[in-house]
């Protein structure tokens, strides 16, 4: 195929970051900027020190030019994430509720808007790392339950799903094929048994 095989059937991490950059985020502009009508989104009139919602990529451009400060999302603070971490530890069979793009957004904000965050960046980093590791362990444990029919991944973020996809889908496909052949074999065997039985009867 024309698409490189690395891009077939799975997203590269840069693509997932691209998706995450399309989400809206609240900013605190420092200058007034007139509204801009783009073909995808509309950037409203920005007035200094008035909170406004814009796509994350716009916020990043403005931030790079020091024209705004980003208001961090309400889940991006140490207290909330610690709570989630305790949740994860307490409930070993399920993933706690986090936004679908928590990893990418936190990474972007820690990298490009560290001065706007409420808590020190290093503390945030460590708690995010903890969360990520405990969830990784869980998803690895969950792989034991792979079967040929279904898998439930409630609460897993896009990046985490993307990591396990190239492993999970081929394995499930193989399992399904094996299952189908054993199924059809069983069917034919049963048919043969029936034939034998009917032969015996006569």
């Amino acid at each position: 195929m024309v698409l490189p095989s690395g891009l077939q059937g799975n997203f590269p991490p840069s693509e997932i970051t691209f998706f995450a950059e399309n989400e809206l985020i609240t900013i605190l502009p420092r200058y007034s900027i007139k509204k801009i009508d783009l073909i995808g989104t509309r950037i409203p009139n920005l007035r200094a020190m008035r909170r406004e919602q814009v796509p994350l990529w716009v916020a990043l451009i403005l931030k790079a030019q020091d024209k705004c400060s980003i208001v961090p999302p309400k889940w991006l603070n140490v207290v909330f994430l610690k709570e989630k971490y305790d949740d994860e530890v307490r409930k070993p069979l399920q993933f706690s509720d986090l936004p679908w793009n928590w990893l990418e957004v936190s990474k972007i904000l820690l990298e490009k808007a560290a001065d706007d965050l409420l808590d020190p960046a290093d503390q945030l980093r460590s708690v995010i790392q903890d969360l990520r590791e405990v969830r990784l362990v869980k998803s690895k444990k969950g792989l034991r339950e792979l079967n040929e029919s279904n898998i439930q991944l409630n609460g897993l973020s896009l990046l985490e799903i993307n990591e396990i996809r190239p492993f999970v889908i081929p394995v499930m496909n193989k399992l399904r094929k094996l299952h189908e052949t054993t199924q059809s074999n069983n069917d034919t065997l049963r048919d043969q048994d029936m034939d034998d039985a009917s032969d015996d009867d006569y």
Partner: protein, 302 residues
Amino acid sequence: MYGDTANKLILDAKRSSNLSSIPIYQSDLIRDIVKETNDLNKDVDYLTGVHDEITDQLNVLTEQYNESIEKLQDINRQRLELDKKLKEIEKKERDPRNTRDFSSERSEITAMETVLLKRKENTAELVQDLSKDIEQINEKHSKINQCQLFVTHLSMRRNKRCLLAYEKLRADKIAEFAWLNIDPVEGTPSSTTMESNVTPITKNLTNYTTSLDLNNLNHFEQDFFKQYQDLIMNFKSDFEDIDLSGDLNAPTNIFIDVRVLKDGGEVTTEYGSFNLIKDSQFFVRKSDVERLIQQGYLEEIV
């Protein structure tokens, strides 16, 4: 064994499937396979000839069989007639008014009957023999001839599949390269030209065909490459605003730092001109220099 050369070809295809260039066309192997397939085709022709012969033989035998069965029926009819005659004679003999002696006629009829009986036996034997022959031929025909034909066909089909798989792999690689929009290598490939041809944009494409030596393609593949390029050009002209063969990575920064990798003189892009001197750096808009990065003149500094 049949299929071994095709197997070799497939092994070669497997080896080259992960290369970033297209290896030389295996014309010798392919010629061998085609020759083998031709031989197999001759076998098929011969086997169908044998098949026809056997069918002819079978037809003759069946005709004979039918004839003898008819004869048998004829004999039976004659015997019935004789029996009738005999009964009539017996009736006449028993008739008190009759004084004529029928013994001579009787003996004649019995003689005829014995002859008929003998003929019947012979024909019955013949019928049995014929049916046995037919059965035998049928068996031989159905088991041996059909099996031979079937296996020969399977070998031919296997050869065909291997050839198609090989050719499809190469065609896919040529198509991959055609989308990259770089010039193919001309002349004999040496390690230096190969290396300089791996441009920055193609470094991060694993398992992607990033260099192509036109000499490694056979004539038809070269044709295919040219026509595929035309197809891409046609397709791209329908979407003039979008660079369909451009970078596949999601856009991140608008302005980037680039370093010049090799001298290119003065290059004018849509938005201005650069003087490309080796190892100099620029801070430029990414969309301006994307083409130059793809062609290997510039490298993005992360």
